[in-house]
Symmetry: C2
Subunit: 202 residues, 2 copies
């Protein structure tokens, strides 16, 4: 927010405030992120802030949405790569994101479990984008779409989230090893589902 020599458009200003909100979330929980704190850090009045965000709840939702969009953008796969490489590079980018943005990421996860319907929707939208990328690769991985694969891809996404959160807090294996484990887990789970012992129908 330094030297506002150029008059910023309201949209640009709002984007800057959201970036600031996400960066403030690095060292505190969503509950601790108040409009007062944002005003102080941005060097503008509370009154002006209420021009951009109707209330604390709207501000929180917008900040979580912004953090989530960042994560989705940074993990966007390069379509020129093959499915398995997209999977490992996507996992590496996701791991990097969670490692560097642990608190904003946890705000998303905790928000989803809270009673806030909008935070839950942001979370589910993001989960949908991430699992959609996997579903798009399913044919390339030699597998077919079915109700079972959809369930298992969602389950694998939960496995990735759980494992990454616990790894960031206690890195018991190397980062490369974790990426290898999670990348190997996906085809393993999906191929096991296609084993002839238990036919999988869609």
């Amino acid at each position: 927010m330094s030297h506002p020599r150029v008059r910023l458009s309201p949209d640009t200003r709002r984007e800057q405030l959201l970036d600031l909100g996400v960066s403030l979330l690095a060292t505190r929980s969503l509950d601790e992120l108040s409009i007062d704190l944002l005003a102080e850090e941005a060097g503008i009045s509370r009154g002006l802030l209420y021009h951009y965000f109707r209330n604390k709840q709207e501000f929180h939702r917008a900040v979580v949405r912004r953090a989530t969009d960042d994560m989705l953008e940074r993990t966007t796969p390069d379509p020129s790569l093959d499915a398995l490489t997209r999977l490992t590079t996507g996992l590496a980018a996701y791991l990097d994101y969670v490692e560097s943005n642990f608190e904003p990421f946890m705000s998303l996860v905790r928000g989803a479990a809270s009673g806030d319907r909008f935070l839950r929707e942001i979370y589910e939208d993001a989960r949908g984008v991430l699992t959609g990328r996997i579903l798009d690769s399913i044919g390339e991985l030699g597998l077919t779409r079915s109700a079972a694969t959809r369930l298992l891809i969602d389950g694998w996404a939960a496995m990735v989230e759980e494992t990454v959160i616990s790894w960031v807090q206690e890195p018991s294996v190397s980062k490369d090893q974790l990426i290898g484990l999670l990348a190997a887990a996906l085809p393993a789970v999906l191929h096991a589902a296609e084993s002839p012992a238990r036919p999988v129908g869609a």
Copy 2:
């Protein structure tokens, strides 16, 4: 609470109140479960209830603990069975429990994600018991314990929770099929971790 002809011990009475609390949770969230409602349903005064539970928070924690203990008890494996049968019967019992006790179960899951440290501890204890049962079977499944297997077993538990919650709300495959998918996923994930391409060290 019918015909209290025999004077109940305080412990027995408290247990009955907790059972009532869990059953009330079948049709409402934890937030909606008040001391007033419990008093009305139990046919006793609010004052007497505060003899058993210091406040609403303590009551909520005790109810969630009770629901969790029920789940752990009902899913206790029969030690005379082999590891794979223990896995499938354990999964079937877990699925039955979540299906019949969806709201109490979701109170546990949501409580864990909330800021309440005690609810989080109850959840983590329960998760620890469930994954501990898997860890105890690891040798019998032809696998070895390592930091990687521990991470993946936790990840698989998250996959089971996610998949079962989503299946109860939208049963897109049969119950037997779901149990088969989740049972097959565990050794698949663990064996993939032991593949020689990426050596797994503890």
